[in-house]
Structure formats: C-alpha cells, structure tokens
C-alpha cells in the first residue's frame, strides 16, 4: 500500500459546543507537527457549505491523499464528509471522522485541560488510521427484475399488484389451493363493512388482469441457493387433480362432492364442520376450480367416475425461478387455546373468535350453536396475548376491534342479543375508538378484570357462567350467564414456518419475522433482498398489513429495477495463503456467507460478497488470523491503538 503523506486535518469549533472546553487551536498546533499532515485547519462549522467547499478545494489544490475531520459523532456526519471527499475526487474510504464533541467537550466539560489532551490523542489516532486506509470500490452485481411473493393473502396479493404496476415480473406463490389467506374466512370486516370474500374477489379480479404476474397455488418454496439479485428458487407444486381447463358446473360439482366418501374436519371453518376430500370452501372462491386434498384423498376413484375433468394421475411439479428479490407474506395463525384454558374443549359452548366468525357465516336468520339459540354472549379478551408468563407477551392489536365490531354485527343481524365483554382494557386505538363507543351505546356491557384475576368459566347444571371481579365496581364479584363464551384469541406465528429456514430470514424473540429497524427500515430483513410484510411480521389488521406490503413492494422494486445492485465494500476477505480450512468461520457466520473453495490445491474458505454483511463475527474465531474486514483492517486498528497509547 502506498504511504499517505498529504493528509488534511480539520478541527471543528461546532459553534462553541466544542471550543468552549476543548482548545481547538492547541489541538491543531499539536497535529500540525505530525510528519504527513500537510494541511491543518480549525473551522467554525465543518459541516457548513462554505467549509465543505473549502475542503474540496484543499483536496484538489494540494492533491491530498486522505482527510480527517474532528467534529461530532460519525452517526451525524460520516456520510456528509464522505461525499465531500467523493466530490473532490478522493476515495471516500480515505476519510476518517473523529468525535471530539460527544467524547471530549461534552463528556468532560468540567475538565477542559484534560478534554483537550484527549482530543489531541484521538485526532492523532485518526491520522494514524487514515495512514493505512485503503481506497475501496463498491462492487456491483446484476439483478433480475423479478420478485417472488410468498403467500397470496391480502398482503401478498396487494404486493404483487403493486410490483406488477411498477414493472417487475412477479411470481405469487400460495401454499393453499385457493388465494385470500385468513381474510376470506372473516365475513364482514371492520372499518369498511365489506366482507372478506368481497375484498379478496376484488384483488383477485385485478390480479388476473396482469400479464406479468404468475400465480401458483398449492405451491411451496423448497429450496434457495443464490443471493440478492439472483435468488435461485425451487418451487414444488402439488397436484390439484383437476384438469386446468375445467369449467365448473355447480350442480355437477355438488354431485361429485356428495359422492366422495372421505370426510375430514374442515379447517377453513376451524373444525366446526367437516368437508370432503374434494372441496371448495365457498362458491365464489378463487381460483374457480375445486381441489382434491392429496393428504386425505384415498384415490378411490368415485369422483373420477362422475367427472372427466378429474385426473387422479397428476404428479408433483417442480419449477425453478430466478428472482432479484423475495417478499415474505405468509401471515399468521390464530392462537389455539390449551385444553381447559377458560373451559376450552371442556365446556361445550366455549369457542374462539375465529370460530364465531365462521359460525355467523354458517348461520342464517338465527344464531344457533349446538342446536341452541344463542342470546347471551360473553367474550373473554386477550386469550393468548399480553401473557405475563406465557410466550406471547404483547397485544395482538386486531382483536379488541374485531370483537367489538363482531358484537355490533351480531346485534344488528340477530334478535335479542346481549353482549358481555370481559376485557383487560380495551385497545381500539385511533379511529377504531368509534366502534367501541357504538358498542357501548348499543348496551354492550364491558367488565374489566385484573391481570392476576382472570374470569373463570364454569358450567352449572343449567348452563355456562362466567364469574369476574369487576374492576369498575372495585372488585365486586359478578356472575354472568352465557349461552356462548368466545375466547378472543390473538395472533401467533405460522406453525409451519419452514420458509424461515429456507431463506435464512431472521425470527425475533416473539417468533414472528424480524425487520432491521422497526422505525427506519420496517420491511427489510438483514438478508439483502428478502423483505417481509403483512401479519407474518407481527399482529396487524388489514390496513396495516397492506400498508407494509405496499412499502415492501416499492422497496423490492427499487432494489431490482436497475438491473444491478451496488454492494457495500466493507466486507470480510480471506487471505487464502493463510487459511487452513478449519471451518470455524463458517460456523460463526450467521448469514451463510462463507463457502469452501479450492485454491492452489488446498481447501480454503471464501466470502460470498453478496451475502457478507461485514459484521465481523468470523474475524476473532480464525486461528490463523487469515480474515480481515475491509475498512477496519488489523493494520488500521493497531495503528490507532498505538497512537492512543503513545
């Protein structure tokens, strides 16, 4: 590496933020004595436009080969001065920022002499580091303008449409045989009163208009090799056993369904009913053609006898896709209460909110459950959410509103209904508050309980009773007769979450997918090119899910649309001569960015540039010290330490 002998150093007053306590002139005098420093200046505000221009001029006129700015935290202005260097034609990695505000003047305002001394040492160490800095160039890789969207729930479908509009090619991959996800199960939805089916139909009809969206149903990703820009994805498509050209005739379909001898619990109705092996959850479901569930079908052939469009000979298909980015939209599962939790599965008229939603859809004029007409309904909130001791620590967000909304719907739809809400405190945030008000004005009764004193569901000879210590009457013990007890269950991550392993997508402590930064980078994951949105990221209602799915769509598109992706140069590199292939670094890397290659006739480790995040986990584990991090090389770090220790 060529030695740097024309270093420019700038020491900032920061108005008086620094110069009140640090004697900046003295710092300048001290560093000016260093051999390779050819320019040293103090400045009132280093970040001011005029100063920036002055630095550019200095670099150009004096042909400086590196600069150091001693000012505030690099978090504030690292990029500012990198840009200054770039404008002057200097490689931005030949710039070092030293923080003498937070670390000197502010931290030691009671000891100005020592603060100045510390500033001198820090600036010296910066000069020492920059002496070893290397000019680094960002690498560029090609990127397919293709995005794979996993999950065709409301978020996935919305992402797909948006991406197609923005000009990307989209593969929408849905595990079930039908699109829509959870939303198609819910009937009327809060804030729009539209039904789930209507919402999904609207999206589906729009989706099929696009030539640049391919939808696979009954499909799952089984492997990925490849990285951002060039994911290499294999999809397995299970057979539907129905020929694609099938024109559905509802009457005939019913005959075929009747003929099927296999009857299994219907998960779409949360096991309230049963279905046949050949099924369609509701008439207007998409795609229009039915499906045969291969896990339960016995291949008896009864249906084939009645319909030519059925083909039990169909086999699994495999498709390979090259994609630039991936959006995970796999949604959530409703929490399944444990047996005995508030009488669930022990007392016969205890059900969950998702079951109630289905029950409303399945009933006509009257609300009937287990042959009994329902009038008094008790809702127990936060079941499986806000658990003090359990796994699900926080609020599921959607459920207060959904329960209150459902209670309103039930009251309007059926006669003589009384709703009793046993809650932990109602969280109908924002505009949703109006629903809470409507429900109370309807005469719904809200009884709040203490965390440590949850309501008790019991059955006496005549029926089911919920007992509660009512917070609002200072703990008075109240008994409420209920014909139906509804457990308001929260959202939990999908039980089958293999996709997380396949894509190495990070999972948080709550087991939902985890973003990089909840505020500033809410849909990106630490795996470049893998984005998350919708309820797979944590509890969300539909508006929130769709907002995040739109943001993921635009993020994905902006990543791949240029056809190439710039990568950060500050990544690890391995000295192949030193490497003895002990495998330690591979184990340490959380991103699978290290692979084994052959070099000069021996096995050595190599970094996959597109995968490495420059985290540096591999550095300390290497027994041969063969790994270095660009921009933070051993030489640079050691030079800093030596300068500080001087």
């Amino acid at each position: 590496m060529e030695e740097k002998n024309k270093i420019g150093v700038y020491i900032c007053h920061c108005g008086s933020n620094i110069s009140d306590y640090v004697d900046v002139e003295k710092v300048r005098e001290e560093v000016a004595k260093i051999k390779h420093v050819s320019i040293s200046k103090t400045t009132m505000f280093a970040c001011a436009d005029a100063t920036q221009n002055e630095i550019v001029q200095d670099i150009q006129e004096n042909d400086l080969d590196a600069i150091v700015v001693a000012s505030c935290s690099p978090k504030l202005h690292l990029d500012t001065f990198k840009n200054v260097a770039e404008r002057a034609g200097l490689n931005p990695y030949n710039y070092v920022q030293i923080n003498i505000r937070e670390q000197c003047s502010w931290a030691h305002s009671d000891k100005p002499v020592q603060a100045t001394e510390k500033a001198i040492q820090l600036v010296k160490s910066g000069i020492a580091r920059v002496g070893y800095s290397e000019a680094l160039i960002k690498t560029k890789i090609s990127a397919e303008n293709v995005v794979v969207v996993i999950g065709a729930g409301v978020s996935g479908m919305r992402s797909a449409i948006e991406l197609a509009d923005l000009g990307s090619y989209v593969y929408l991959i849905e595990r079930e045989y039908f699109v829509g996800g959870r939303v198609s199960q819910w009937g009327e939805l809060f804030t729009t009163n539209e039904t789930g089916k209507e919402t999904i139909s609207r999206l589906y009809n729009k989706l099929i208009e696009y030539k640049n969206i391919t939808l696979f149903t009954g499909a799952e990703i089984i492997s990925n090799t490849g990285t951002v820009g060039n994911f290499d994805i294999q999809v397995k498509i299970r057979p539907r056993y129905i020929k694609p050209g099938c024109k559905v005739d509802p009457e005939k379909l019913q005959r075929v369904i009747d003929a099927c001898p296999v009857e299994v619990p219907d998960e779409f109705n949360f096991n309230l009913t049963t279905r046949k092996a050949i099924y369609k959850n509701f008439e207007s479901e998409f795609p229009e053609i039915p499906a045969i569930d291969p896990d339960h079908c016995t291949r008896c052939g009864e249906c084939e006898k009645l319909c030519d469009d059925i083909d039990l000979g169909q086999k699994d298909e495999f498709v390979n896709i090259k994609a630039g980015a991936i959006i995970i939209n796999t949604g959530y599962d409703p929490y399944e209460p444990k047996t005995g939790e508030f009488g669930y599965k022990e007392i016969e008229n205890v059900i969950t909110l998702p079951q109630l939603k289905r029950l409303i859809e399945l009933n006509g004029e009257e609300l009937i459950y287990k042959n009994k007409r329902i009038q008094n309904i008790g809702y127990i909130y936060c079941v499986g959410s806000r658990q003090k001791d359990g796994e699900n620590k926080y609020c599921s967000r959607y459920c207060c509103t959904s329960t209150i909304y459902t209670a309103i719907v039930i009251k309007n739809k059926f006669k003589d209904i009384h709703n009793f809400h046993f809650d932990k405190s109602i969280r109908t945030y924002g505009k949703l508050e109006l629903l809470y008000r409507e429900a109370s004005e309807n005469g719904d009764i809200f009884l709040q309980f203490w965390d440590e004193d949850p309501p008790v569901v019991s059955s006496n000879g005549n029926g089911t009773v919920v007992s509660i210590k009512d917070m609002l009457s200072s703990g008075k013990e109240i008994e409420v007769d209920c014909d139906l007890v509804v457990l308001v269950t929260g959202m939990v991550p999908r039980q089958d979450n293999k996709i997380a392993d396949i894509l190495k997508a990070p999972i948080g402590r709550d087991k939902f997918f985890n973003e990089i930064h909840p505020k500033l980078r809410p849909v990106e994951t630490v795996i470049d090119g893998v984005l998350i949105s919708g309820a797979c990221q944590g509890p969300k209602n539909i508006s929130e899910s769709v907002k995040s799915s739109l943001s993921a769509a635009s993020k994905a598109n902006s990543l791949v649309k240029k056809g190439e992706i710039e990568l950060k140069p500050t990544i690890a590199f391995i000295d192949k001569n030193a490497c003895v292939w002990c495998d330690e670094c591979v184990k340490a890397c959380p991103f699978d960015a290290i692979i084994k290659v052959q070099s000069n006739g021996k096995n050595v480790a190599e970094i996959i540039e597109a995968k490495c995040k420059g985290g540096g986990m591999c550095l300390p584990v290497c027994p041969e010290n063969a790994i270095n991090l660009k921009g933070y090389t051993d030489n640079e770090m050691e030079a800093m330490i030596t300068a500080l220790a001087d």
């Binding site: 008094n376 009384h418 005469g443 200072s474 013990e477 109240i478 008994e479």
Partner: protein
Amino acid sequence: MSKLNPKLVSELQCYGAKEFSACYNCGNCTAVCSLASENNEFPRKMIRLSTLGLENEIESSLEPWLCYYCGECSSTCPRQAEPGELMMSLRRYLTARYDWTGLSKRFYTSEIWELGAIFLLAAFILVMFIFFHGPMTTELTAESGVKLNTFAPWKTIEIGDWIMAALLGFFLLSNIFNMYLKVIVRNKNIKIPIKLYLTTLWDLAFNFATQWEFSKSENKTKIAGKQFNISPYWIMHWFLMSGYVLMLIMIMVFLGWFQTDNIYEWWHPQRLLGYYATFGLMAGLIYFFYNRIKKEQESGKHSHFSDWVFIVLLALTTITGILVHFFRIYGLPLPTYYMYVFHLMVLFPMLMIEVPFSKWSHLAYRPFAIYFAKVIKAAEKVNSKD
C-alpha cells in the same frame, strides 16, 4: 357474588335514562359531584350498578336521593351519558321499588296506566257530584256570595278530605316503611342503636320543611349584581312548596274557615293567605314550565312523561281554584259550581297519584333518605369505636 341482569338497562330507559349506556367509566362525573367522597364514587358507582343490573344494590342505595340534579356531572361527561338524568331516573325507579302496590311502576312506565288512572279518579268525583250534590241555587247570600256551601257543604267535603288523607297517609307511610326495610333492615352489615333514631330526628324535620339540600345546587342567584349562595331553583321550589303546603293545610284542616260563602275584605287573612298560596304555586309553576321548555339548566333538559303530567295537573288545579274564587266573588253561581267540580276532578287524581306513587312522594323520600344516611353514618361511627 351478584348476578348480572342485562334487562335492567332497558327497564331504566322506561324511567327516563336513555343515554347512560354510553358511559365508559372515566369518572369525570365523580370528580365534579359534590356528593362524591373518597370511598363513595358517586355517581359513577350508581351508573355501574345500573349497567350491571344489580337491583338489590341499587334498591338499598340512598345516594340517588341525596342528588339534587345540579347537573354538573351531565355537563362534564365526555360521552354525554347524562349521569344526572340517570340519578333522576333512579329516583323514579326507587319510588317504584318502595311501592309495594306496584302502581308506581305502572304509572312511571306506562302512559296508558297513568292517564287511565287520572280519568278514572276524575270520573269518580264527577259521579259523586252527579249523585250527591246539593241544590244548585242561583240565589246569592246576603253578603252577595254564591251559595257554594249549599251546593257542596264543607262538612261533607271535609269528610271526603279525611278519607283521602287517610288513604294517602297509609300508602305513603307504608312505602316509607318499605324503604326503611330495604335500606336499613336488609343491610346486614349494620346494627343501629335505637337511640340514634331520636338524636338525628331534627335533620328529618329540618329537611322536610326546607328541602335545604336543593339550595346547594351550583347555580347561584344574582340580585342587583350581588352573588347569593342560594340557587334560584331552591327559591322557586320553596315558593311552590310553601304555597302548596299552606293550601293543603287550609283545605284539609281549616276547610270550614277557608270555604265560606261570605266574601271578606281583601285584607282578611283568609284571602291574603289564599293569595299567597296561589302566588307561590303560580310562580313555581311558571319557573318549572320555563325550565323544561327552555332546557337551559341540566335539570330541565330531559322531561319524563310523568314530569309533564305532574306540572299540567298542578297548573290545572291552581287555575281552576283561581276561577272558582273569582266566579264566587263576582257572583256567578253556575260557573262557580261547575268549576268547583272540575277543580276537584283535577285535584283528587293529582293528590292520589302524585303523593304516594309519583313525584310528590320524593318530597318525603328525600328527607327520609338524608335521615337514614345520617343514622347509618352515626351508627358506623359508634360501631367503629367499639
């Protein structure tokens, strides 16, 4: 353990409280109500009991009687749940609960029952007069008065008065006794030494006579720029009450002196007292009509059917009374007789319905509630000393 009763909410709506389901228990009403104390979150507590339908707890509560509808709570409530109106409705509800005959509940919750009873009682008076009235002479007495005592001899009327008074007294007192059973006897937590009933008796008498608690209402009177710590509501209420009581005493106890055929000079006490009572009644009536029509004060914003029945009956009684007086003074025999019959046709149902079963009974329940509350408080003090 108490059982929640979801039906009470709609029942209370019949008694007038339409909005209290909107309450979200913020407690603002309790923060502003002068009756609330550290361990009595009034009126929020009563709202909660009503929402949950805990009838026994409500039945044994005295608090609704201590509230004089200053309306602070209603104007402060962020949900417009009208807590003050619920307290008013609870007073009606309690009146119905104390009344063992069940009539009060019918009158409060059914317009047909209330109007039916009025017409029935009016018809009774009419029938009595048709069959038993004295000669309708058009001759005038020597002092040029109409011979009212020939048409309706005061002695006969007085007998009727007493029968009516006995009935009213019986119903009212038995209802008060029922109230006593519900708030004190059934309350197992409290033992009350007999002595206390006597030592607090003064409060009962004082409040009965003055209904003093009304004066504590937040609305103050301004006269000639000066602020007085007495509410106009109380003043008008007192006018009305004193006129009413005076009139009642004159017709119940001194009817022979009050209902004369002679016409005295204007300064004669018989006429002066009569005029005062009439003036008090009219002034009070006008104020209350105004309050209910203008709806400026919280207490006048909501009018239950029974409120209007009461005001209209009282107004009719007063106006017909005035007309009887003037027809007599101006020597118009037939109009006097007819008006007299009409007067009694309004007066009788008004007293029979309002005194034991409806609004007038509140005038008895309130002082008793204050009295019982004092007794309970004193007993708690004694008990805590033991």
